[in-house]
């Protein structure tokens, strides 16, 4: 009964806060409509510079075939390698392909020959992708030639499971939903509580017989509700715009979402207990959230991190939720496949809740 009045008050305040209201409406839309296009690792329009030392029909064919792939744009043809490096330095090209002299001759004879690929790796990802794409095209090219000469060759056909077209959006969207929940359910209630501290309104509440636990609960419940509502909206948007429908069950997703929401809001509470001002809480929250985001496997695979960093990720609640979300969304994993993630997340949730309760001054 009392909780009803408290919730009524919280919702009134949320409704009257123009900034918060806009954030709650605009943020999920932005995240779902803009971020999947922006947070994209597919590299396109790589500027290619070819150094053709052969000037043969084969080398010409190769030079034509590469831009046809759609990934490359033939930016320049250089006479010498040094000249090509010059282009890289001027940022006019991203990758150099040097075709050796006697390229055609060697191929005609059925001998092997080497070409050199030199990507600009200031942006490591771009360089790596450029080299990979080029290698792929070159191997296609060599297969083409060998077939014509009726020689045996191995053709590799990769089949990408659970994401057949290697669509980056499919991969990033479940992770973006998780990020959304960290903001709505982690940041907002923590800032709200610290805000009451800062304005002094908590003083007036503290002299009433109102139980602390009830007061805190009244702060969390609205954001839990908003978080789950937004998540649902995101499911709709993902299905509508990207045709992305979870392969697994919604029940499992919501189960994990609720667990994660509790974990992260408890984490927010811990921080709010140690902060006196909103600014302080915001910065601390931000610091930890950025660390967790970078170490959760959203943007870079955990397996590519150094060993010590991989060890740290075991304590990161985001990691488990994102793993679970991707598995459910893309692979259609059920609860039984994910019980490790579930148990660990439950453990972290319990730990943070305990900490939040203990660090809260009882009087």
């Amino acid at each position: 009964m009392l909780l009803r009045y408290l919730l009524e008050k919280e919702f009134k305040q949320i409704r009257r806060n123009p900034f918060l209201l806009r954030l709650i409406v605009a943020y999920p839309i932005l995240v779902m409509l803009v971020f999947p296009w922006v947070a994209n690792l597919e590299v396109k329009d790589i500027n290619l510079c070819i150094v053709d030392n052969d000037h043969s029909s084969y080398s010409l064919r190769l030079a034509e075939q590469i831009p046809a792939s759609g990934y490359f744009h033939l930016a320049a043809v250089a006479l010498t390698y040094d000249k090509a490096i010059e282009y890289i330095k001027q940022n006019k090209s991203d990758v150099i392909l040097e075709i050796p002299m006697d390229f055609e001759k060697a191929l005609m004879r059925g001998e092997s020959t080497t070409v050199m690929i030199s990507p600009n790796s200031v942006n490591g990802t771009k360089g790596l992708f450029a080299a990979n794409y080029l290698t792929q095209i070159l191997s296609d090219f060599s297969v083409d030639i060998s077939e014509k000469q009726l020689q045996g060759a191995i053709e590799i056909i990769p089949q990408y499971r659970y994401n057949p077209y290697l669509n980056y959006k499919t991969f990033i969207i479940p992770a973006l939903m998780v990020i959304l929940l960290t903001v709505i359910c982690g940041f907002l209630p923590a800032l709200n509580i610290v805000g009451e501290k800062e304005k002094g309104t908590i003083e007036q509440i503290n002299v009433t017989p109102l139980k602390k636990s009830l007061f805190i609960l009244s702060k969390l419940i609205p954001y839990w509700m908003i978080g789950l509502f937004i998540l649902t909206v995101c499911f709709g948007l993902a299905a509508l715009i990207y045709g992305l429908i979870p392969a697994g069950s919604f029940f499992t997703i919501y189960l994990f979402a609720i667990l994660f929401i509790i974990t992260y809001s408890a984490f927010g509470l811990v921080i709010s207990n140690y902060s006196a001002t909103m600014q302080q809480a915001m910065f601390v929250m931000f610091f930890f959230t950025i660390v967790m985001l970078l170490m959760c496997g959203t943007f870079t695979p955990i397996k590519s991190m150094p060993h010590w960093a991989q060890t740290i990720t075991y304590a990161n609640p985001l990691r488990y939720f994102i793993e679970a979300m991707r598995a459910i969304y893309l692979k259609g994993s059920g609860f039984t496949d994910l019980h490790t993630q579930f148990l660990v997340l439950t453990g972290i949730a319990g730990l943070f809740s305990l900490w939040a309760v203990l660090s809260y001054k009882k009087r």
Binding site: K9, G200, P209
Partner: protein, 288 residues
Amino acid sequence: MITVENLTKSYGEVEALKDISFHIDAGKIFGIIGPDGAGKTTLFRILTTLMMADSGQATVDGLDVVKDFARIRHCIGYMPGRFSLYQDLTVEENLHFYASVFNTSIKENYYLVQDIYKQIEPFKKRRAGDLSGGMKQKLALSCALIHRPKALMLDEPTTGVDPVSRKEFWSMLQRLKEQGITILVSTPYMDEATKCDHIALMQKGRLLSVDTPERIVAAYPDVLYAVTGDNNYRLLCKLKENKEVKMCYISGESLRVIFHKNNVPAIEGVEIRQVAPTIEDCFIQLMQ
């Protein structure tokens, strides 16, 4: 109703309260008079169960502020020095919210707040943050009263309020006292002291004197003179050099002077007459 025994509280090096003891009878207005930094707010925070003292005891309505804090919270109304109602809720919503937190309703105790609330009722749909200082104060008082507390604790309720509203406020307190509510109020304004039944003069964490305002004034040990001249500052410097002068300070338009052994010297061009000491004079005297 409220007893305080040997309360001590320090924040690190700073001693906010040093061995404070006093007693407040039920149905009285008890004023704590002292400048900023005297320790008034610390005392309030201990009595309202928001803070624990380092040592000493305090009870409100027979309940210990540490052991029975939960029960005390039912029977006190607190108005902090800083406006701490929800600025984004309306006048009516704030009152309704605090009534429901205490498990009561506006209707039930309306008789208690109606005098005060009637004055802000025309603005009941306005957000509390948009109210003027005087109206905010009336709303805060209404919210502190809505659960019919036995004791009302007001921390500097008149600071930053215009003189007319201040006067009004004190007459509101008188009416609440008639309802049998014990009122503990702090103020830095000496002129408000006479409106209280009992006062405690407080400075740097110590109580200088606790008594009725009349008795404190009556206990003034010296004979006080008002000295009026053309230039108060020059006169002050001159008097301070005079060996006959025990103490002198500026008070309003004139100077207040105490002479050694009550020997009043003749000083040219100034008017000297005996005056009755006020609470402020007592305070200054006690501070020495």
